[in-house]
Each structure stands twice: as C-alpha cells, then as structure tokens.
Amino acid sequence: MGVILLCLLGIFLVWRIDSPRVERFRAQVTDAIVPNFEWAMTPVTGAANLIRNFQSYQRLAEQNRELRSELRQMQAWKEAALQLEQENARLLDLNKVRLDPRLTYITGVVLADSGSPFRQSVLLNVGARDGIMDGWAAMDGIGLVGRISGVGNNTARVILLTDATSRIPAIIQPSGQVAMISGDNTAVPPVEFLESPELVRPGDRVISSGDGGVFPAGLLIGQVAADPGGRLRVRLAADYERLKFLRVLRHHGTEVVTDPGHIIAPVTPHTGTTAEAESPDG
C-alpha cells in the first residue's frame, strides 16, 4: 500500500519536474493501447453517430427544403469562385509567383478524442512512422485545427486550438494586427495581445502568422467575432463538430535571412586570389 502510494506520488512529481519525458511515456502508452482498439472504436463511433443523426432524419423534409435554398445561393457563389479562381491563376502566372512547394501534407484519421471534458485534443492514426514531428500544423479541409503535440510510433496527438494550453500566433487581415489565439476550453477562443483592438472588426480573417518560426504561416484560422461582453474571439473556420480526417502539414521551419547583403562591386580580373587559382591551369 505504502509502496504504491509512493510510486504514484513519485510519478506525479517526476511529471511536474520533467514533464517532456513523462509526456513521451504517455504518448508511448497511448500508442501501444489505442491502435489495438481501432477495430472496436470505428463501429461503435459509427453506431453512436447514427443514433445521434436519427433525430435529424426525422425532420428530413424540412432540412431538404433548407438545403435546396442554400444550394441555390451556393451556385451563385460557385460561379463567382470559379471566375475568381481563373483570374487568380492568371495573375499568379503573370507575376511568376512561386507557391511554397514544401507545404505538402499527410492525411490522418481521428482515432480518439481526449476522453475528458477538460482537455481538447484528438489522436490521429499517423505518427513517427509517417514522419510526423511535434509542432506541425493539423487542418481539416478548410481551417487550422491544432498542432501536433506528442508523437508515438503509430499515433500523434493534436492539441486543438480550443484547448486551454493552446497558443497560436496569428495575424488579423486586413488590418495586419498581430495577436495570440489562446484557447480557453470554449468553442470560440479569445484573441489576446492585440496592440490596437479598434482596428479589428468582427468578420476580419484570422490567419496564422508563423511568428517564432515553429508554426507555418498563412493558414486560415477563422473569423473575428465579438462576444456579448465586447471581447474579441475567433469563430474557427474548421468544423470542430465533426473532425474525422485531418491534414498534417509538413513544416521544415521558417527560413531566416541571415545574410546582411553585400556591396555588389564590379568583377576585377587582376586580384591575387584569382591569379593564384588560375596559375596551376595556365
């Protein structure tokens, strides 16, 4: 009894002192256990979702009508989007813009969630085996979902933007204000450390800024919204209700320009070094 209590206390203290090591151990334990249950988790999750969907089946006719009217609106948008896409492609071509070719991604399936109402994270079925590394960004089709924190061999944990420990540097367009999106366990994380909040309006786009060099820049996070208290929050673009497939973006660090730039001088043919370099040949 005493030994067991001491062990538990020891584990907790070690975790407090040397958190990364114990978190790695946690990732390994999760990695060893959860993939074994995948065969059971998938059908149970499917069944539960089926039951949950049942009530929405009941008002199918009403939903159908709503969807049709939405579809009509969407067709107008689609037309606009196609035109814009073509225009964008033309302009990019004219400008010879080179998009970041290294921003490739690996898609993973959500195996499990955090299992606790206090933490917001999901477990993906891709891990170190697939080259996943800590700190990479995870997106659904549209927006940023979170970052990788904790990689096992076959699994990786994504800390969602809504988790209380999540802090993502962001930039708010079009004003260009830099801010921090810090999760607080609610569906709409607040925007913090804004220099001049009066420049930011509800509806502005929030994208990741990549400050600090650990996170890719330019990923859509969501839109600014003001809560009833007047505090600015982000309505996330990703659909957090149904996280199933997540893209993990490969990120190899933001490149830094270290070269201060030199004076470009005309090439002088008769310097000592070139003479020495050429003498063995001639």
Partner: protein, 179 residues
Amino acid sequence: MAELTNARLWMMRFSFVGLSAAVIFFYLLPLQTAPRSWAGPDMIIALAFAWALRRPEYVPVLSVAVVMLLADLMLQRPPGLLALLVVLGVENLKSRALGLREAPFLAEWSVVALVLIAITLMNRLILGILVVQQAPLGLSILQTVVTLMFYPVVVLLSRFVLGVRKAAPGDARAMGRNI
C-alpha cells in the same frame, strides 16, 4: 466451495479492471470534439467507491492504482495525482465499510460525497500549489456533482447485474478473506 468463491473473487477483480477499461474506451470515442459546457460522470471513481464499500476484496489497492494511473495517462490528466487521491479515498472508504454495513443508503451516499469532494478539493489544491494548468472550476464542480448523482445508478447496477452486495454477517467465512 472454497474453490468456487476463490474463482469468483478473481473474476470480480478482473471484472473491475475490465469495466474500467471499457469506461476509458467509451470516454475515448471521438464523438465530441467540440468543447462542451458540461462534464460527464467519472464512472471509474464511482465504481471503485461503490465496490469498496460493498466488497473491499474486489478492489485491491493495486488494481485501483493501476486502473487510475492508466486513466490518468489516457485521459490527459496529470499522471499519478488523481490516482493517488483515489487510492487514498478508496482505502478510507474500505476502513469505514464495516461501520456502514448496517447504515441506510443515504448515510453511505453522504460519506461517499464527502470523500469525493475531498478528492476534488485536494486535486485542485495540489495542482494550484504546483502551478499546473487547471480545468475550469465550474466544470470540476459539475463533474463531482454528476458523479455523485450517478453513484446510486452504479450501486444498483453492480448489485443487480453483477451481484455485488454488502456482505451479510455470516458471509465472511464463506467468501474467504484469507486466501
């Protein structure tokens, strides 16, 4: 007879571990990935408490500790702390089990409430002292209350489905504490 009870003892010990594993499994299902404003009950703690007051021999210290530590690791809690507190709570309840054997359910429930609230408070206090990021207070309180509300359900289920009932005075010899 002795063999039968022995087999049953080990079966119930394993079924505690198995049930806890099932609970963790259901917690981990990715059904709700958006943050929620409510918290479900902590069924493992309720189960451990209910059994500790009925059949202490079904929930030995080691299995409670292992199950809770595993839950801590899997559910992203600070590992070890809640396990430590729950083991202490279960041992405390075991020591009171004899006195509560004749008591009405309400008395048992209030003792369980006391222990559970103490565990929650200690958990928050220790995490606060060590400056660890904590869950929102409202959610912790809610989880404690919901766990307490589910306690009678757990008790009824363990009684009528698994046959875990309080030992009658004559049972002690038959159930064989001394294995």
